[in-house]
């Protein structure tokens, strides 16, 4: 546990040092308003990363989150165009339900048919994107077609921060409680830590993985509406490739890809790290084209770091055999 704590401390320190370094030359970056903007800008990544964390904890992976986001977002936008007077609360419910349903498709295939999650979500990722095209024939839905209440909701300010940011805060608190204080949360860790032991303690491994996919899908669906409303545009390729950022945030945040280890706080810090880097690059006048390479390098460093901190645990009988696993 102390190792996990120190990981979060290190990450927090790294983010703090990064922000401080930028502040020495560009004090405007640490103005409260700008920090809130950076946080809000990173919120979609944080929400998705929390869902992805639950999935990775159960030894699965969900590569379809960005496609789920795009599909649900597009459906929300189309509903808004068809029925502009529908209250935002209804849209939110639709986004949550639809996201969960798409997540459940992944979950069922993994649970009932025992298909490797990476194959399932690679497949559904392309299928979801394709379905958006079938629905829209490639057309965009632009700002002027959406109603002001639809696009205004995530941007509305409340106590100095847009609603989008507050939604991130609320979900983070809920997820912390769920992961630490509920049977579902503990089951997720048990399944990832040791599936066989989990079975003997009476946990249904497949069902827990199914629930993890539903959670991931639900959060992706919610983010879909928020994303489309915030940027006021919906098209086939929104959030293209975002699933890799989401996995990167988890890995940087100390979530072990082998399952069973990782925390909500770590994941949030991992997402925040990527968010700060993304927002800082234009400030320090580095071409945004550097972002991809930086996040790639961050993933590799983080995963090497994860392996180091995980290795001391457990008794290594034959070191090279461990490598071969």
């Amino acid at each position: 546990m102390s190792a996990l704590k120190s990981r979060e401390a290190i990450l927090f320190g790294a983010i703090f040092a990064l922000v401080a370094l930028i502040a020495t030359r560009f004090p405007g970056f640490v103005a409260p308003g700008n920090l809130v903007a950076v946080f809000t800008d990173t919120t979609p990544l944080m929400i998705l990363a929390m869902g992805q964390m639950v999935v990775i904890l159960t030894r699965c992976i969900d590569l379809s989150v960005a496609a789920n986001l795009a599909l649900t977002g597009m459906v929300c936008a189309m509903i808004n165009v068809a029925a502009p007077d529908l209250p935002v609360a209804v849209i939110l419910v639709i986004a949550l339900v639809m996201g969960s349903a798409l997540g459940a498709i992944n979950g069922i295939l993994v649970w009932k048919l025992n298909i490797p999650p990476i194959v399932v979500t690679l497949g559904t990722m392309t299928i979801f994107r394709g379905v958006i095209f079938l629905l829209t024939e490639g057309k965009w839905i632009n700002a002027h077609e959406m109603s002001p209440t639809f696009t205004g909701f995530p941007r509305a300010e409340f106590l100095g921060m847009p609603v989008l940011g507050w939604i991130g805060v609320v979900i983070a608190i809920v997820m912390m409680v769920v992961m630490a204080r509920t049977t579902l949360g503990r089951a997720v860790y048990a399944v990832g830590g040791n599936p066989h032991a989990a079975v003997y303690t009476g946990i249904d491994v497949g069902k827990t993985q199914f629930k993890a996919f539903v959670i991931s899908g639900m959060l992706a669906g919610l983010t879909g509406y928020l994303w489309v409303a915030r940027y006021s545009v919906a098209y086939v390729d929104i959030a293209g490739g975002f699933e890799l950022d989401v996995v990167a945030a988890c890995v940087i945040g100390g979530v072990s890809i082998a399952g069973g280890a990782g925390t909500v706080v770590g994941t949030l810090l991992g997402a925040l790290f990527l968010g700060v880097v993304k927002n800082a690059l234009p400030v320090v006048d580095v071409s945004p084209f550097w972002q991809l390479a930086i996040s790639g390098a961050a993933i590799i460093i983080a995963v090497a770091f994860n392996a180091k901190s995980g290795r001391s645990k457990g008794r290594v009988i034959l070191k090279s055999a461990e490598h071969a696993q």
Partner: protein, 331 residues
């Protein structure tokens, strides 16, 4: 990743005869599907049965299949490389830089292959020397390699490759047989022999089935895996040479998303994504099937993104159907 690898294997009382086993094998099923698609395509479009069109259609899969052969070996050994498309981008960019510096065709090819080999070595070192899971490592290097391309190129592009360089992607060996197709065919034979007829091939299967067991049988697991990553890198470099030569230009977004199609091709070919089983003939047939599907749908004016739905359904369907079938037979 799943529990399936730990469940006991079902051993039948009597083995099926070799002929019967061949007839109900994955490869023959796939072949039947491929022939079905071929017949459907030739009935659906009058332009399908044309030597030149079919020759053009091979471009749909030759470059991907080159990588898929190496990827098949890698997946059989229990690892995966998601960075292959990014390696193409980086190798293509490196060739562009070399071209700007005035390199001729032989040097360009060497630069492309060399970059691929270096990228493969980087992946392999991270996986074997540091013991990291290949899926995360290659998701990381996927961003890193393509990121370097973006740093070098930004939103620009390299153009103006030498005339002789276009031979790889646009040349014909004789009549309608393209250079790429010949490379594809030669590689299919080489990889087939290596996997199915050599010690090295047996080692790959052994590692995929039980890495610890393989180690105790005296197989140098890390070295074999390193070689497989190098091979995958080299094949990506070769695909980069062909693709760059065919397109005649390099952008940092070149071949994006191709890694998914390559993994789909390998899995469609009957390679177990969890490692331990699969064959090169299966991958060859899968390459043809995917090429025929995309070409046929293209002739029917189906947009590319809708084709991706078919590819996605194909990927899930080919794995789900046998499992559904097995479940029905059990109950």
């Amino acid at each position: 990743m799943s529990l399936a690898e730990n469940t006991p294997r079902h051993i039948p009382d009597r083995l099926r005869s070799p002929l019967q086993a061949k007839l109900v094998s994955w490869e023959s099923l796939l072949l039947a599907v491929g022939i079905g698609i071929f017949i459907f395509n030739s009935l659906a479009s009058p332009y399908f049965l044309n030597a030149w069109n079919l020759s053009d259609a091979t471009f749909n899969f030759t470059e991907k299949a080159m990588i898929a052969f190496a990827m098949a070996l890698l997946i059989i050994s229990g690892e995966i490389d998601l960075s292959v498309a990014a390696i193409i981008a980086l190798a293509s960019t490196a060739m562009g830089v070399a071209m700007e510096m005035g390199a001729g065709t032989p040097v360009l090819v060497l630069v492309g292959l060399g970059t691929g080999l270096l990228c493969g070595a980087f992946n392999g070192a991270l996986v074997t020397k540091l013991g990291l899971p290949s899926i995360v490592v290659t998701i990381g290097t996927m961003s890193l390699f393509r990121g370097i391309s973006y740093i070098i190129l930004g939103d620009g592009a390299f153009r103006g490759y030498p005339e002789s360089f276009s031979w790889f992607g646009q040349g014909y060996v004789f009549w309608v047989i393209t250079v790429e197709f010949v490379i594809f065919a030669i590689l299919a034979v080489i990889f087939g022999v290596v996997l199915h007829k050599t010690n090295f091939g047996r080692m790959v299967y052994a590692i995929g089935n039980n890495p610890t067991g393989a180690l105790f049988s005296g197989i140098r697991v890390d070295r074999v895996k390193m070689i497989l990553f190098l091979l995958t890198g080299l094949m990506s470099g070769l695909a980069a040479v062909c693709l760059t030569s065919r397109l005649g230009s390099t952008r940092p977004s070149i071949a994006s998303g191709m890694e998914l199609e390559i993994v789909t091709m390998v899995v469609l070919g009957g390679v177990n994504i969890l490692g331990g089983s699969g064959s090169i003939p299966g991958v060859v047939i899968a390459a043809f099937v995917m090429g025929l599907v995309t070409f046929g749908l293209g002739l029917l004016n189906v947009p590319g993104i809708v084709m991706s739905i078919f590819i996605g359904l194909l990927l899930i369907g080919v794995i789900a159907l046998p499992r559904l079938w097995a479940m029905r037979r059990k109950s």
